[in-house]
Each structure stands twice: as C-alpha cells, then as structure tokens.
C-alpha cells in the first residue's frame, strides 16, 4: 500500500518534470497565459466600445423614433438604417459560432495580417460587442421610466438625461453581468489556437504533442483557467456587495 503510494508520487514527480521542467516547457504555459490575458483584455475593451455604440443607437431609436420622425424625416431615415445595421450585426454575431467568426476574420477578412494575435483580439472584440450591447440595453431598459421623466422635466435633453441620470444607474445594474461576460470571454479565447496563436489552451496542447502525456499538461491548463475564473468570480461578488451597500 505504502509502496504503491510512493510509486504514485514518484511517477507524478517524473511526469511533472517531463512536462513542465524539461526544455523549459513551463515557459510555454506562461507565454500562453500572457497571450490569453492580452486577447481577453483588448477584446473586452473593443467589446465595450461597440456595446456602448450599439446599445446607444438601439435604445435611443426605440425611445425617440416618433419624435425624430415628426421633426426631421432625413435624420429619421439615417437613424433607421443605423438601427437596422445594429440589429443585423447582433443577429449575425449571436447566430454563428465564435470559432467560425474567428476563422473568417483570419482567413477571409484580414488576409494580409499573418500574426493571429491582433486578428483574434478584433474577432473576439466584435463577438463580445454584440453580447455587451444587449447587456447595456437591458440595463437601460431596467431603469424606471420615472427616472427618465424626472431628468427631462428638469430641462435636460435626451442625451444629457442619458448621460447624467440613466447611464450611471445603468452601469451599476450591469456591472456584475458585464464581469460575467468577461469571465465567459476568458474561456472563449481558448479557441485562439485555430489561427496559430499559442494561448493557454494551445500551450497545453503543444506540450502534450511533445511529451506524449496528456494528463499533466491538460490538467494544468484546466486548473489555470479555473483559478482565473474563481478569482474573477470572487471579485465580482465583492463588487456586487459593495455596489448594493452604498445606497442603504
């Protein structure tokens, strides 16, 4: 019994050494982590920018279309087209798998860029933008209509009311959901290997290819993703409690 336990630990140590120490293969994982975080961070920023624009167009179209229609038919036409484009974008992005979008970006759209990293940042950013837009829009819609009326009754115009009254409250509502989108995004970037990026998942896979042992590198990759997600979830929980706290 003791013998077999000893053997297990000895094997484990050997496996560990083979997969991570020999040939400095731990550096691959480290590079993979860096790539994964880089893609996630840039994609998130792109996603938030796109999300704000789309949510802004969609919710202000819904709220002000009648007024705009009465005042300026040309502006209304432009507005309708913008709204249609946003809707189309949401449908296409949310209706197709992200891996297909990534491949299309790399092999069809950005054919002149051979480095997969910036392409992946853009592809994941475009993808996450669609989801972030809907998060923002639902946040705007969740704010009581009375808040909007209160802003307008004080003499703020539509944009000022959005900026000073609605958006600060909306942001508070959506922050936890937005952070969840961030968590989802981290895991989604694990397909970046499709366009030749050595992200975390690909690094584990490369080690497996080199050492012919699957257990250790894939487990390590899974554990690293899990640790990231657990830390982020904990931070989101903390943030949520704090946001709730200061109004009571």
């Amino acid at each position: 019994m003791l013998n077999s336990l000893n053997k297990f630990f000895a094997d484990f140590a050997d496996e560990f050494k083979l997969n991570f120490i020999d040939g400095g293969r731990w550096k691959w994982l480290l590079d993979g982590i860096v790539a994964t975080l880089e893609i996630t961070a840039v994609a998130l920023i792109i996603g938030i920018v796109i999300g704000i624009i789309i949510a802004g167009v969609r919710s202000s179209f819904d709220k002000t279309k009648d007024d705009v229609k009465a005042k300026d038919p040309f502006l209304y036409a432009l507005f309708s087209i913008a709204n249609f484009i946003c809707k189309l974008y949401l449908t296409v992005i949310r209706g197709t798998p992200v891996v297909v979008q990534l491949l299309i970006c790399y092999f069809v759209i950005f054919t002149k860029i051979y480095d997969g990293l910036p392409v992946a940042m853009i592809a994941f950013g475009l993808n996450s933008g669609a989801y972030v837009a809907e998060i923002f829009r639902s946040g705007i819609m969740s704010i009581d209509a009375g808040q909007f009326e209160a802003g307008r009754s004080l003499g703020f115009n539509y944009i000022q009311t959005m900026r000073y009254v609605i958006v600060p409250q909306m942001f508070k509502v959506v922050l936890p959901t937005l952070c969840n989108e961030f968590i989802v995004l981290i895991k989604e970037t694990s397909i970046a290997g499709y366009v030749g990026i050595m992200d975390l998942a690909k690094a584990g896979d490369l080690i497996r290819g080199r050492t012919f042992s699957a257990f250790m590198p894939l487990l390590a990759v899974a554990v690293i993703y899990l640790v990231f997600v657990v830390i982020l979830t904990w931070l989101v929980g903390k943030l949520e409690r704090r946001l709730r706290g200061n109004e009571r």
Partner: protein
C-alpha cells in the same frame, strides 16, 4: 386669451391609438401668474394627462399651449428651456437613487444653469432648511421616508428656480401620516406666490389653498370655479356625484 395668463391652453387634445382613445378632448383654460389651480376628477378622467401635457411629458395631438407667450407645441420651440421654468413633482418622487440628496438637488443647477458648485449647494441648503431637511443633505433617497422624499423632490424642482410648479398627485403614494408634511410645504409655496397646478385627491387642500378648481371628466373640463363654489354649490351632476363619494 388673457394677457396676464402665464400658461394659456386652447383646445388641447391628446389621443392615443390613432384617436380611438381620447385622453384629453378639448381643454381650454388660462393659468394666471401666482394662481394656484387644482385639478380634480375621477381616475382615468385625464387630469394627469392634462398636467403632463403642460410640459410636454405627454405629446398633445392638437391644440395650443402658450407658456410666457410662446407656443411650446411649435416644433421649433426648444422645450428643454421651457421645462426648466416648469418644475414638476411626480407621484412616485423619482429621485435619483444613486445620488445623495444634495447631488439630486444640484445636478440641474450645475449642469444646466451653469452655477458653481458652491452657489448651487448654498441655494439647495437654503431650500432644504425651509422644508426642514437640511440634516439629510448627505443621505441617499433610500434612507428617507416617503414624505421626506417628496419634500426633497419639491426642493429639487425649486432649485431650478421655476416660474410654475406642476404637481402630479404628489401625496397619492404616501402613508397617510406623511401627507400633512408634504401639503404644508405646498401651502408655504402657494403663500409665497408660486404659480401652481396641482392634480390631487386631497379635497381639503383643494378647498383651502387653491384659487380655482378644475373638475375634469372624460378628457374635458366639465366644471370650474372658486373652491367654495365647486365644493359647496356644484352645478354639474357629475361633479355632485364625484364629490358625494370623496367628501
């Protein structure tokens, strides 16, 4: 049209669903400066719609609303400038929950009237003192009682230095105990010469404070006059029925 009318309403109609629902069906009245007008009537009669039309919270279908001699229904009129001069108080207060009382009060003066923070704060505190809530300046709306919230909401509208105050059932969402404190603030305002239009179910307030009472039914003013006439000698049968139920 009266020369000293601050708000002049002529043949105001608000229709919904292509005219199948007539919320307001031809309202004509003048509101003079310093006048306190209360609007009473059964629920669904259009009294709130009338009030909300005055600052275009509700889009009228047709008619004329002149405020300070300007037709605010003209698409060329900048309604935002006029809304600053028309303070509005809502049934559900609509304070901004993410801001302190002081921030609620100074948002519009700082951003719209371009006052300095010090100036806006001083004015806000002065008005807060008048309604007895100076000690709650740094509280959040959630920490206040309904009556306190509504008094803050009144002060928020006053901080814009409006020429007229519109009240949309300001005490309907309050616990009975708290109605008094809000009404007393409104009475002080009326005494101070503020022009007020008040939609209310508080008949005592209408009787005591208002200069004129409008009885609205089915989107029309069916009877109007001094409170003593309306309450003591109503002429219209609908008014008689309504008052017999609420008084």
């Amino acid at each position: 049209m009266n020369d000293n009318a601050l708000i002049s309403v002529k043949d105001l109609c608000v229709y919904y669903k292509n005219g199948t629902i007539k919320a307001l069906n031809g309202i004509t009245t003048d509101i003079k400066k310093n006048e306190v007008v209360t609007v009473i009537g059964p629920s669904g009669s259009g009294k709130s719609t009338f009030l909300r039309s005055l600052n275009l919270m509700e889009k009228p279908t047709s008619g004329i609303i002149e405020f300070d001699g300007v037709n605010i229904l003209d698409p060329k009129t900048n309604i935002n400038l006029h809304r600053r001069k028309m303070g509005m108080v809502f049934q559900h207060f609509n304070l901004f929950p993410n801001m302190t009382v002081l921030q609620n009060l100074t948002l519009a003066p700082i951003k719209l009237l371009k006052k300095s923070k010090e100036e806006a704060n001083a004015k806000a505190l002065e008005l807060l003192t008048k309604v007895g809530l100076a000690d709650r300046a740094s509280a959040y709306p959630m920490q206040l009682s309904g009556g306190q919230k509504q008094r803050i909401a009144i002060v928020r509208a006053l901080c814009n230095e409006p020429e007229v105050m519109l009240f949309d059932e300001p005490t309907s969402a309050l616990d009975p105990e708290m109605v008094g404190e809000v009404l007393s603030v409104m009475k002080d305002l009326a005494k101070g010469g503020m022009t007020m239009v008040v939609v209310t179910h508080e008949m005592g307030f209408a009787k005591e404070v208002s200069d004129r009472v409008l009885f609205v039914d089915n989107g029309k003013i069916t009877e109007e006059g001094a409170p003593c006439d309306i309450f003591e000698h109503p002429k219209n049968q609908r008014t008689v029925d309504f008052l017999s139920k609420v008084l």
